[in-house]
């Protein structure tokens, strides 16, 4: 067992090198640099430009910059934002809970709607219900998040006035950030009205971000269910005279969920990239919004550090999932 854990953990090292190198290379590949970005139409005295490049450490050859970056990272120093001059880890820490909150609800929404929809489609295969679920999920999967989010705002917020347009909570509530999770913070402050406001602000971004995972989960559940329903043990369960509901939920769905869980794990990475678009439209103060702005400002430390932290979290989640699989299923451990 320990050998398995160590083997999995050892894979983190090449992944780390790959991620840092990729993040570093990509941001440096974009034309322009942070100093150029500051100077605008005015132009900048060459002397001042040189000084700033030196202060930002950008006057050194790229391999040296990369080496020094990795050395700092290994010491736990992700550097400071070139725009705000605040530590990258500190900014990430402030903003990350908002992204987690949004991603959590998006995944919850995707599961709560996607799994039953997939089950219904499988059980009522080739009926109108099946076509409807598959058609809608295909549409959902193909929908550009940006456009979908604007559509939701224009319909539900502007036309119907049911939900707020954007933000995390109505401006009249100034809730101190204790955990950074707005729902928890409002409850800790004992302010139910603020809690309701925070909840209402979550609805549209949750739908916008959860739509693609929902579509994937619904389709995955359907195909997994179709396979399981053909299995002998399902026939056996039916033959025993169990109720249809019990056969579907306890015997079929439980086994069909195994591939679905894998898909959910993979969706975590996608959720974080989807969050970048969703957060921008909904002015959601999370890391996606922050990263986009970092790219625009050529804020190298923010982009590199942000990608590294997100990748680190995804790697950690996957590592835990892998180990858990091994714990649950000995065949994986010894495979």
């Amino acid at each position: 067992m320990w050998r398995f854990v160590l083997r999995r953990a050892a894979l983190v090292v090449p992944t780390f090198i790959g991620v840092t190198l990729l993040a570093f290379a990509l941001i440096h590949l974009i034309p322009g640099d942070p100093v150029e970005n500051i100077s605008g139409e005015r132009g900048m005295e060459p002397a001042r430009r040189t000084r700033l490049l030196h202060e930002f450490g950008l006057d050194r050859p790229l391999p040296v910059q990369y080496g020094s970056y990795v050395a700092h990272v290994l010491r736990g120093d992700l550097g400071h934002s070139l725009t705000t001059h605040v530590g990258v880890a500190q900014e990430f820490g402030t903003l990350f809970p908002a992204t987690v909150e949004l991603a959590f609800f998006a995944m919850l929404f995707a599961l709560v709607v996607g799994v039953p929809a997939g089950v219904i489609a499988a059980v009522r295969r080739n009926t109108a219900a099946d076509y409807a679920v598959m058609g809608v999920s295909l549409a959902g999967y193909s929908m550009p998040i940006f456009w979908w989010a604007l559509l939701l705002i224009l319909f539900f917020s502007v036309q119907l006035g049911w939900t707020p347009v954007s933000g995390r909570i109505a401006v009249e509530y100034d809730v101190p950030a204790v955990t950074g999770f707005m729902l928890i913070d409002t409850l800790m402050a004992g302010d139910l009205a603020a809690f309701r406001s925070a909840l209402s602000h979550l609805i549209l971004p949750t739908i916008a971000l959860g739509t693609i995972p929902l579509a994937v989960i619904a389709r995955m559940t359907r195909s997994a269910m179709l396979e399981v329903l053909r299995e002998d043990y399902v026939r056996a369960a039916r033959a025993k005279g169990l109720s249809r509901m019990r056969v579907i939920v306890v015997h079929a769905l439980r086994n069909a969920l195994i591939p679905v869980v894998t898909v959910v794990g993979l969706q975590v990475g996608l959720l974080l990239s989807g969050a970048i678009l969703t957060e921008t439209i909904f002015s959601w103060p999370g890391v996606g919004n922050w990263l986009i702005h970092g790219v625009q400002a050529r804020d190298y430390p923010v982009v590199q550090g942000g990608i590294l932290l997100i990748a680190g979290i995804v790697i950690a989640v996957n590592l835990i999932v892998d180990v858990l699989y091994g714990v649950i299923n000995p065949r994986i451990r010894h495979g």
Partner: protein
Amino acid sequence: MAIALPASGKGTLVYCSEGSPEGFQPQFFSTGTTFDAVSVPMFNRLVEFDLGATNIVPALAESWTISPDGKTYTFKLRKGVKFHSNANFKPTRDFDADDVLFSWNRMADENAPFHKVTAGQTFAYFDDMGMKNIVDRVEKLDDRTVRFVLKRPEAPFLADMAMDFASILSKEYFDAMMKKGTPNAADVYPIGTGPFEFVSYQKDATIRYKAFDQHFRGRPKIDNLIYSITRDATARYAKLKTGECQVMAFPKPADLDAMRKDPQLAIQQKEGLNVGYIAFNVEKKPFDNKLVRQALNYATNKDAILKAVYQGNGQVAKNPIPPILWGYNNAVQDYPYDPAKAKELLAQAGYPNGFEVELWYLPVTRPYNPDGKRMAELIQADWAKVGVKAKLVTYEWAEYRKRSKTGEQTVMMFGWSGDNGDPDNFFVPLLGCEAVKGGGNVSRWCNRSFEDLVVKAAQTPSQPERAKLYEQAQVIVHDEAPWIPIAHSVRFDALRKEVHGYKMDATAHHYFNHAEIVK
């Protein structure tokens, strides 16, 4: 503890701003978004621009005198001006000369305390405006009198002092934070003399201010000011419609018509302190020839560009400065659209069949140019009629600027938004000989007689005399034609009808101290 304020009650104004401030310090940064969030609501300068205009009015200085040689500016400071307070600081004294010296020397003197506090932090605007070469020293004559001694006569200096970077900080506050061992705190939790006090900032989400009761110009009419940071213009518009905010920054030009039709909304507009132009690189053939530059001025149909690109939200430019600036020479006759005349000049210059050229166009929307590509296409078509075949080229925005500064371009689209209300701020950075080296002068045009005029104007204290010099300078620019000045754009703010008293500023800031909510 959660503090609940009435949603959009009489006392609270919510402004949908376009982005997050880089920090809460008026000297470090140079973007309009940061100024709107920091120097505008919370700080004051010795002198300031009259709201909506570019003339200079007293602020923390109640009066000033300029020595006859134009090198000494003496400011008489206002009495009884209070600083804000916060949980860590209660001021024990009013604003005085020490605060002025502290604020200035912090930027100017490398050995001053607080010059180097935050790593990588620079005094961007102070450096960009070349203040080190202008001001020699600042002296305190008494508690209420300070004297700025300049290295050379520099008439635009007063306008420079009205700019955001010249905001006055509290020396007492910085000293107190130093004593506490948290010198950085003074740059994070701002204390100023402005109409609003800082309450809190939730990164990328909301900035909260409350009215400062003891503001020297009187308390603002609203109690609370909230910036709701909303980067997407469509989302800002939606929030304005639903009443989640009462004023929005930077409406999209495409939304203006719908906004005008909405009975709940009002649109304000203001002539921009800007210019969009085409610059010929005079160091390169064929644009080293004045006749060619004039020919293409005749060949370009600006009225069509104004209609198609600016959709009427601008005015045709004939000078490098906009007509709202003093010193504008209205007597200059613009080159009319005249392809026949253009052909004639081209033939005279030795290009009877025209030539081929790369025209660089803006890759992004800028305040002075909503659509560079569309503009380039129209110009391409115009020039084709006189035999000049333009190939349209562009680069990513930062790359575009970088290349333009090296003089790689032959002819390019560019523009400028003024920093302050002084004509010097257009002529020198855009057409001056020094700016050829710095790269801001993208036509790389350095003309002795022009240079003499603008240098002389900068050294002349009297504004009417300066205006005359600038008027002559514009005649030279017109004749030499290093540019095709295209347009001065108009800026817009959208607000809800219940907002009264809000007035747009000429230098593109957003002031809320006169605004109120009337239901």
